[in-house]
Amino acid sequence: MCNVCGCATAGDVHVAGAMLNTGSGRQVEVLQAMLHDNDRQAAHNRAHFAAAGVLVVNLMSSPGAGKTSLLEATIRALHGRVRIAVIEGDLETENDARRIRSTGAQAVQITTGSACHLDAGMVHGALHRLDLQEVDILFIENVGNLVCPASFDLGQHKNVVLLSVTEGDDKPEKYPVMFRAADLLAITKTDLLDAVGDFETRRALRHFRQLANPARMLRISARNGAGMDEWVGWLLGEREACRRAMASLAGD
């Protein structure tokens, strides 16, 4: 039972299993994910999102890659068409939630203290502070970190990983676990390409493909609007696909 909303959750921790006597002791077979509890909570979050018909997109990147700026530009671009809400994850401050709220969108800030990632339990606490019935797309802006957030399912439908041109085009090669998790690779701050000089999107894509990830790559500048149409088009397509999948599930 979910202790916040009282809704039913999936079964309890698996405690049985094949037993093997090993002389002085016994071996119990488990074969369960190390993050079993988080995965169960993520499935529970996903059920909340399905019930409300919300597409949930998890944004991950280094600190300063432009996640909040991209969200501000996205909310402006979809104003009047799509209702957006944001769950913000940072170690400290309400700054990002305040920036999002000033666009008119709902925003909840999670401050993790010293925790380097969001987990499904934190997101569950935050989603109960939002009116999901009034939301079409929920963004989760994860803690800026190219390592830890990749290991935790939050219940999202899609992962978007941002790589800003100031970071270097070999980031996918250096942080393979994170970039393998991407359903879309967003090269951001492309207005700075000339100033940076040595970032090649072609090389970033090659490093990305070397992780066997077939996901699309988009080039976006939240500042000058380049690539925003493609980004918004991708979001609307995913929103439609999510809505169709939920409708077919409801019809079963």
Binding site: A115, M178, Q210, A212
Partner: protein, 117 residues
Amino acid sequence: MHELAICQSILAQVVAIAETHGGRVKRINLSIGPLAGVEPHLLRAAFPLVAAGTACAGARLAIDTPPVRVQCNLCGVASQVRPNRLLCRVCGAWRVTVLEGEKMRIDSVDLVEMENV
């Protein structure tokens, strides 16, 4: 250092198993692939801190680290590869399926009777 959070998750599951089956935990057998994003040595360093005072205190983490293996979607050959270079070793294609290397699993738990501890 998300390994601490992962240790807490392992601990909760293994303590529940020890309570159900009785005894103390001698060894926890894990599989961690290089694509799981978890560092075995950090897990080993963090585990005693979370296990202190529980049924897992003093338990050893035995970590199997299977290498990354992919199968080419074009030529069908399976090969062992580096975690940041998941390309077919034969034809170089990036359209491959990961066969092994993503696991992050508790395989089994070795329990001993209290008097054997």
